[in-house]
C-alpha cells in the first residue's frame, strides 16, 4: 500500500473525489497554480483544469458565500481557508447560511460544502496561525465538525465529508501534516514513514463521520482526544505507565457517544484533552455528556487539560501547548483520586 503524509492523503482525497465526480470543485487562496501554502491542492489545477481548481481573491466570506451558491446549484465545493484563524470573516456565511439552508427552505435548498482549514499550533505561528476554533462550530446546529489525527483517517474522512449532503468543517491539525507529533518539541521531528496509519490506499474509501476509534486500549482511565492531542495522549500513557484508553474522536459533530460511554463505564475515569482554550471549549460538552451518562460509574471527577485562556503566544508556545507534562500530571492526579 502507498505511504502518504497527512497533507498527501488530504490531496489524494480531493484528487479521488474530483476524478469520480466532476461536480467537485476546489478553490481558495493560493490553491490553484501554486497548490496551496501547505501544498494540499498541488497538481489538481493541472489535472482538472482552471475551472475546477482555482485561486480565490483574499476574502474568506466570499469564498464560503460563493461555495454556498455553487452548492445550491448542485456542485460539491471543497474550499480551503488558508488558516482556521482567518475563517472569522466567513463566520456569518457558515453559521447563519450554510448551516441553515436545509432547515429554513425545508430541504428545497441544501448545502453540501466542505470547508478545509489548517488548525492548531506547534509551528511558532503566534496568535493568528495557531488557533483551534472547533467549539465555535460545534455550537452551531447544522454544521458537522471533523478533526483527523493521521493520514489514513484524513483521506477517508475528507472523502466522506465531500460526499456528505450537509456542510462539514474539516479542521486539519497543521502540526501533523508531515509527521505525528506527541508534544515532545525538543525531540527530533518524526515522519509518517514509520507509522502504520501512514499507509493509505491510493483509491477511494471512506471513514464514516460520527465514528470514534480506540487508539490505545486500556483499563485505568479514558482519555478523550482529537487531532494532535491524540498523539500526546498516547505518548503520555506510555511514559507514565498509566493504562489509559485513548479515544480518537475523529468527528466532534456528530459525536460517537456510544464509544465514549462504553469506555468510561469500563474505566471509571475520564480525562478530556484539547489544544483549544479551556473555557467553553468542546471539552466542556464532553465532560457534561460523560457526567450525564456515566455518573454512577465515575470514580473521579471528569478532568480537562486544555490551552490556557489566553491568545496563543509566540515565544511561550511550549508553555501554552498542553503537552505530555501537563497531561501526565492530570492522569496521575486522577489515579490518586
Amino acid at each position: 500500500m502507498p505511504r502518504m503524509t497527512m497533507i498527501e492523503a488530504i490531496r489524494s482525497a480531493m484528487d479521488v473525489s474530483m476524478e469520480r465526480d466532476d461536480n467537485v470543485v476546489v478553490f481558495g487562496e493560493d490553491v490553484g497554480y501554486f497548490g496551496g501554502v501547505f501544498r494540499g491542492t498541488q497538481g489538481l489545477q493541472q489535472k482538472y483544469g482552471k475551472t475546477r481548481c482555482f485561486d480565490a481573491p483574499i476574502n474568506e466570506s466570499g469564498i464560503v458565500g460563493v461555495a454556498i451558491g455553487m452548492a445550491a446549484y448542485g456542485l460539491k465545493p471543497c474550499v480551503e481557508i488558508q488558516f482556521a484563524d482567518y475563517m472569522y470573516p466567513a463566520y456569518d456565511q457558515l453559521t447563519q447560511e450554510a448551516a441553515r439552508l436545509r432547515y429554513r427552505s425545508n430541504g428545497d435548498f441544501t448545502c453540501g460544502i466542505t470547508v478545509r482549514m489548517p488548525t492548531g499550533g506547534g509551528i511558532f505561528g503566534g496568535q493568528t496561525h495557531s488557533q483551534s476554533p472547533e467549539a465555535l462550530f460545534t455550537h452551531v446546529c447544522g454544521l458537522q465538525v471533523v478533526v483527523p489525527s493521521n493520514p489514513y483517517d484524513a483521506k477517508g474522512l475528507l472523502i466522506a465529508s465531500i460526499e456528505n449532503p450537509d456542510p462539514v468543517i474539516f479542521l486539519e491539525p497543521k502540526r501533523l501534516y508531515n509527521g505525528p507529533f506527541d508534544g515532545h518539541h525538543d525531540r527530533p521531528v518524526t515522519s509518517w514513514a514509520g507509522h502504520p496509519l501512514g499507509e493509505v490506499p491510493a483509491e477511494h474509501y471512506v471513514v464514516p463521520l460520527g465514528k470514534a476509534v480506540v487508539r490505545r486500549p486500556g483499563s485505568a482511565v479514558t482519555v478523550l482526544a482529537y487531532g494532535t492531542m491524540v498523539h500526546v495522549a498516547e505518548a503520555t500513557a506510555e511514559e507514565t505507565g498509566i493504562d489509559a484508553e485513548v479515544i480518537d474522536l475523529r468527528t466532534l459533530m456528530p459525536l460517537d457517544l456510544d464509544t465514549i460511554v462504553t469506555s468510561v463505564k469500563k474505566t471509571g475515569r475520564c480525562l478530556v484533552v484539547h489544544e483549544a482554550t479551556l473555557t467553553s471549549g468542546f471539552g466542556a460538552e464532553l465532560a457534561a455528556l460523560v457526567q450525564e451518562h456515566c455518573f454512577y460509574n465515575l470514580e473521579a471527577p471528569v478532568t480537562r487539560v486544555a490551552g490556557w485562556d489566553t491568545p496563543y503566544p509566540h515565544a511561550q508556545e511550549w508553555d501554552y501547548f498542553p503537552g505530555p507534562a501537563r497531561v501526565g500530571r492530570a492522569l496521575r492526579d486522577m489515579m490518586e483520586a
Binding site: 487562496e29 493560493d30 480565490a56 485562556d309
Partner: protein, 410 residues
C-alpha cells in the same frame, strides 16, 4: 432547454509563469512628469483619469521633472536614501538571523522601501498609521529604535511585546504605528474609525491606512471606503500594489476594475496612482493626500505601483509560481538606485559617499543586532516569562486566569 449561449467561467491568469519570459510590455508606464498636479480641493470627478495613470517624478536620467517635483530638500532626500538603505540592510540581517534559527519568521521589503519610508515624511507627530507587516519603513523613517524592532523579532527578554506576537508584528503608539494584526485588512477600516474620532474631537491629527493589493479583496477594505466616503474621514487610504499576494497575481484581487486606485471611484474618492519605486513621487503624493485630510477636505485613495522582489515571507519560495527573472524585468527599477542616481545627478552625492554610507549603515545595523542578541534570541538567552503569557488579556486578571496561572506554577 433554451438555445441560449453556453456559459464558461473566466479564471484570470498572469501573463507568465516559471519557465516563461517575463513580459511587462503590457504595463503602460507614463513618462515622468507627464501627470498633472491638481489643487488638493479639486472635485474628485475631475481627476478620475488619475486613477488609471502613474504619477512619476524621477525620469530615466535621474532628473526630477514635472509638477510633482520639488516637495523635498536635498538634505531630506539624502535622509530618505539613508532610511531606505537602513531598511534594506535591516531586512537582510534579519532574514539571515531567521535562517540561523534566531527567530521563527521574517518578512522583507526588498524593492518596496520607498513606499513606507517616503510616506512617513508626510506625517506629523500625533498622526497614526494602521500598517500591514510590510511597512517597517514607517518605523525606521520615524526614528524608532532599531534595536527594539530586533528585540521584538527575537522575542527576547527586552521584547516590548513580551514574546506574545509573531516576529515583525510591531506596535508603537508613540511612533504612530498601530499594533499589527495577522488577520488581513482589519486595520483598514479601523484607520477610518481613528480618523473619524479625530474629527469628532475637533483634533488636528490624521490617520493613514495600509493594505496590500491582494488584501483589497477583503470586505474590510470596502467597509473602509464606505465609511471614509460617507463621513469624509481625515484618512489617507494606501494600497501597496506589489503585484503579488503570496502566489496569487494582482489580477485576482483587481478583477475587472483596471487598477486598484479605480476602486475608489465608485465611492467618490479622489484616487491617485503613483510610482512606488520613486521616492520623490511617493512623498509628493503622500503630502498631497495628507494635506487634503489635514484641511478637512476628506479621504484620498493612493495606489503605489511597485514590485515584491523577495519571497512573500521566510515560509515562501516564489520560484514555484513566477519566473525568477521577473523582478529584473520590472519596469520601475529599484527605489534605492533611482534615488541614489538622482542625488548624484544633482551633484549632492557620489559613488564613493554612497559606498561609505553603505559601510556605516552596515555597522549601525550590526551594532544594534549585537545589542539585541545580548538580550537573547528566540531559542537562547533571556526570554519573556511564562507570567507574561497570562498578563494583558484583560486590564485586570480575572479569577479563572489567576487560577490557571497558579496551576501553571508561575
Amino acid at each position: 432547454m433554451t438555445d441560449g449561449q453556453r456559459l464558461s467561467l473566466h479564471v484570470p491568469e498572469p501573463e507568465v509563469r516559471p519557465g516563461g519570459k517575463p513580459d511587462f510590455s503590457n504595463v503602460p508606464i507614463p513618462k515622468a512628469g507627464s501627470v498633472r498636479r491638481p489643487e488638493v480641493d479639486v472635485d474628485p470627478k475631475e481627476i478620475r483619469d488619475l486613477a488609471y495613470s502613474i504619477i512619476r517624478v524621477l525620469d530615466r536620467e535621474g532628473e526630477a521633472v514635472g509638477p510633482w517635483a520639488g516637495s523635498l530638500t536635498d538634505e531630506e532626500l539624502m535622509e530618505g536614501l539613508k532610511h531606505m538603505m537602513l531598511l534594506r540592510v535591516f531586512d537582510s540581517r534579519m532574514l539571515m538571523a531567521q535562517r540561523q534559527g534566531k527567530t521563527s519568521f521574517y518578512m522583507q521589503h526588498l524593492g518596496e522601501e520607498a513606499v513606507s519610508c517616503a510616506f512617513r515624511k508626510a506625517l506629523l507627530p500625533g498622526d497614526m498609521n494602521f500598517p500591514t507587516y510590510r511597512q517597517a519603513g514607517l518605523l525606521i523613517a520615524g526614528g524608532y529604535p532599531m534595536v527594539e524592532m530586533m528585540n521584538q523579532i527575537y522575542s527576547n527578554d527586552a521584547d516590548p511585546l513580551k514574546g506574545r506576537q509573531l516576529p515583525i508584528m510591531y506596535s508603537s503608539k508613540e511612533f504612530g504605528f498601530f499594533t499589527i494584526s495577522g488577520n488581513l485588512a482589519t486595520q483598514y477600516v479601523q484607520a477610518v474609525g481613528w480618523a473619524m474620532a479625530s474629527a469628532i474631537k475637533n483634533d488636528t491629527k490624521i490617520a493613514a491606512a495600509w493594505i496590500g493589493d491582494g488584501s483589497t479583496a477583503e470586505s474590510d477594505f470596502h467597509s473602509a471606503l464606505v465609511f471614509a466616503s460617507t463621513y469624509r474621514a481625515p484618512v489617507v487610504l494606501n494600497v501597496v500594489n506589489n503585484q503579488w499576494a503570496i502566489s496569487t497575481f494582482q489580477g485576482v484581487a483587481r478583477g475587472g476594475s483596471g487598477t486598484f486606485a479605480a476602486r475608489g471611484l465608485g465611492y467618490g474618492l479622489p484616487s491617485l496612482r503613483v510610482d512606488g519605486n520613486d521616492y520623490l513621487a511617493v512623498h509628493a503624493v503622500a503630502k498631497w493626500a495628507a494635506e487634503r485630510a489635514r484641511r478637512n477636505i476628506g479621504p484620498t485613495l493612493v495606489e503605489y505601483v511597485t514590485y515584491r522582489v523577495g519571497a512573500h515571507s521566510t515560509s515562501d519560495d516564489p520560484s514555484a509560481y513566477r519566473p525568477k527573472e521577473e523582478s529584473e524585468a520590472w519596469p520601475l527599477g529599484d527605489p534605492v538606485i533611482r534615488l541614489k542616481n538622482h542625488l548624484i545627478r544633482i551633484g549632492t552625492w557620489s559613488e564613493e559617499r554612497h559606498r561609505q554610507m553603505e559601510a556605516e549603515i552596515r555597522d549601525t545595523v550590526v551594532a544594534a543586532q549585537k545589542e539585541a542578541e545580548r538580550h537573547g534570541t528566540l531559542h537562547s538567552g533571556g526570554r519573556p516569562s511564562m507570567r507574561d503569557m497570562f498578563e494583558g488579556v484583560y486590564a485586570e486578571m480575572p479569577p479563572h486566569l489567576k487560577r490557571q496561572r497558579q496551576q501553571a506554577g508561575v
